[in-house]
């Protein structure tokens, strides 16, 4: 079932705040894949990303009453995860990501094209890991999560011109890193 079907975010939030704790599961299932993808790209590791997302969702539940505009729940959740990722990177003392998780393993039944995709993905992941955490976050929000600059501003708390400049620089840095690897 597509979890985007069914009640709106505002309706689900109202149910949770009304005491229906199980309804929060709907929010988790609706947004966890995007949040995990975002955190994985920013942190560079799936385990660290899972920790950050799980912790963020628990915090989101506890502070749900302070979500001023439940119709913008998605950007509110991304904001919490973005801040968790920043804290995580700050604890690592460097903004560099370590690609500590094993790369995706191709299934033996995969065809040649699929194997090639896995290799291409590894190259892109390595190139993305060379960007600063700010540029990485900006590129992923814009191009992987498909957010508008306005949504990105809500997630990061930055001004739109700052974000535009950051995305432009991220594209240039990523392109160079890709060319270095080709």
């Amino acid at each position: 079932m597509d979890v985007r079907e069914g009640p709106s975010d505002a309706e689900v939030v109202a149910r949770v705040l009304g005491g229906d704790r199980e309804a929060f599961g709907l929010i988790v299932r609706r947004y966890e894949s995007g949040l995990l993808r975002f955190a994985t790209r920013v942190l560079g590791g799936r385990d660290a990303a899972a920790d950050a997302v799980a912790e963020s969702l628990v915090r989101a539940y506890r502070h749900l009453a302070s979500c001023r505009d439940p119709t913008r729940l998605r950007t509110w959740l991304y904001r919490i995860v973005a801040n968790r990722c920043k804290s995580h990177l700050a604890r690592r003392a460097t903004g560099d990501v370590s690609l500590d998780d094993a790369p995706p393993i191709a299934d033996p039944t995969d065809n040649e094209a699929a194997l090639e995709r896995v290799e291409q993905l590894a190259v892109v992941e390595q190139a993305l890991a060379t960007l600063s955490s700010e540029k990485r976050e900006a590129f992923v929000l814009k191009h992987v999560e498909g957010m508008s600059y306005q949504e990105m501003a809500a997630v990061t708390g930055e001004r739109i011109p700052t974000l535009k400049m950051r995305v432009h620089r991220a594209r240039e840095a990523l392109l160079k890193a890709l060319e270095d690897r080709s």
Binding site: R21, E22, F24, G25, V28, R29, E32, S33, L36, R37, T40, R41, R46, A49, A50, V53, A54, S56, L57, V58, R59, Y61, R62, H63, A65, S66, R68, W76, R79, I80, N83, R84, P104, R117, Q120, L121, V124, E125, A127, L128, F139, V140, H143, V144, E145, G146, Y149, G157, K164, V167, H168, R169, R171, E172, A173, L174, L175, K176, L178, E179
Partner: protein
């Protein structure tokens, strides 16, 4: 760093149509888009739903929470008192009322202090304080404005240490205490006020 032609940025930002790009620039845009598409399509790892819901379940069923819920939920109470005991109870109540008022002062623990919250919200119908000390739950510490002058007050006993807090006005507006000496940005990009409670028996 390689400089990308501004037209590529414009096309990627949807400001000009892709068709307006010459072939060489279109290839640059496509290179970046295909990289993003690979990142978007990659598996994002295990679901965290079970983990999150299990933690919420534990949170809701912890003994402290169960006790707090039991204490705050209304319960029908029936008292059956024998006449002789009811006389003794009445006598005790009279004695309690005659005791000096100092006796009603809360007994503070070694690591507790008194916090006074004062906020000016003229025209507000309700003001409460939420913070790290009450798990940011509304409905637990209301402020009072007995004389209707718009100045709301509450005095509570809190554990000694630093506490983050905000005021909730009319059940919907979350406002920091602008008279606080310290502020800290929370995970939601807002500023929380910080209160330092010193132990009375320090």
């Amino acid at each position: 760093m390689n400089s990308i032609d501004p037209r590529v940025h414009q096309a990627l930002d949807g400001e000009i149509p892709r068709e307006a790009l010459p072939p060489a620039l279109r290839r640059v845009a496509e290179r970046l888009e295909s990289a993003a598409a690979l990142l978007a399509a990659a598996p994002e790892g295990r679901s965290v739903a079970d983990r999150v819901l299990a933690r919420l379940h534990r949170h809701a069923h912890s003994p402290v929470r169960r006790l707090a819920r039991w204490l705050t939920a209304p319960h029908p109470v029936t008292l059956r008192i024998r006449p002789v005991w009811s006389l003794a109870l009445a006598a005790s109540l009279v004695l309690l009322m005659l005791l000096p008022e100092e006796r009603s002062t809360p007994v503070l623990g070694e690591h507790e202090g008194i916090a006074q919250f004062v906020a000016r919200f003229p025209g507000a119908h309700s003001v409460q304080v939420v913070g790290s000390f009450n798990d940011w739950r509304t409905g637990t510490i209301p402020l009072e404005d007995r004389d209707g002058d718009g100045v709301w007050r509450a005095v509570v006993v809190l554990p000694a240490g630093a506490h983050e807090y905000m005021f909730v006005v009319d059940d919907e507006r979350w406002v920091p205490d602008y008279s606080a000496n310290r502020f800290v940005e929370d995970d939601f990009g807002r500023e929380n006020s910080v209160l330092i409670v010193r132990p009375v028996k320090g």
